[in-house]
Symmetry: C2
Subunit: 152 residues, 2 copies
């Protein structure tokens, strides 16, 4: 436990961030939770741990962690942003149109050939490229089927 805290502390300092309770808590939640959490989900868990955190603080912390490279932010239109622990590899995301949940998808071609646009206008600079797959997850497909059956 203690070493875990130490570890998180070290990583915050290494990233040039001050060590605060909200930051430790948020970082810990991101590390522990598998999958991708919304700011609200994260806040709920942090609340359970600290007793109190402002909405603002959670957003601030997440922004700081994202800029520092400790977290990755995946924003998908129509759904609140989700955060995952930062991993170096360039993987993609599948977003369910139903529940908005996001799962990781390994890059189909390994070397990410799509991520270097061939013809970019002069003066334009790409700093990030992402691939998003849209569709229906297994669970939503199941409940949809159920719903449709009920309707008919």
């Amino acid at each position: 436990m203690v070493s875990q805290i130490r570890n998180l502390e070290t990583r915050l300092r290494a990233a040039g961030l001050r060590v605060t309770a909200p930051r430790l808590a948020v970082l810990e939640v991101i590390e522990r939770r598998r999958g991708h959490s919304t700011a609200d989900e994260i806040r709920r868990e942090v609340l359970a741990r600290l007793g109190t955190v402002s909405v603002q603080a959670v957003y601030d912390v997440l922004a700081a962690l994202t800029i520092a490279g400790l977290a990755r932010c995946i924003e998908t239109p129509g759904h609140p942003a989700r955060y995952e622990k930062r991993v170096g590899d360039n993987h993609h995301h599948f977003v369910c149109r139903g529940c908005g949940d996001t799962i990781d998808i390994d890059c189909a071609t390994g070397a990410a050939p799509c991520l270097t646009p061939k013809a970019l206008p002069r003066g334009f600079a790409v700093d990030e490229a992402e691939v998003t797959y849209w569709g229906i997850c297994a669970e939503c497909a199941r409940s949809n089927a159920t719903t449709n059956r009920e309707k008919s």
Copy 2:
């Protein structure tokens, strides 16, 4: 002029949509404007033409056109959705972090190899895949440089 209207009318009917003033106007705006327009920009142009259209109508029409396959909707987090005339090819988009403007990028590899995920969990279904490049457009890069110079 008349033939242009006729043409739009025909396309609406062919798509199984009723022909209304807002729909003709919105479709016309999308066809004529190059680039990608926000709902608000489209509304302004439609207003100039018809004198009046509700915000709702514009959203409804855009949704209908999108579903019918006459328009394509590009949603980018942090910026209002943008609409473009539907073209069959699968091209990608570059989104400027500064102004939010969106430009088309031809698929780097032609055959879109990235768009077929290799390992998708059982029961999941992909209906769309998109590649988004994030960065700074030439114009914003220029004004940023200016701003920074002013600051120092």
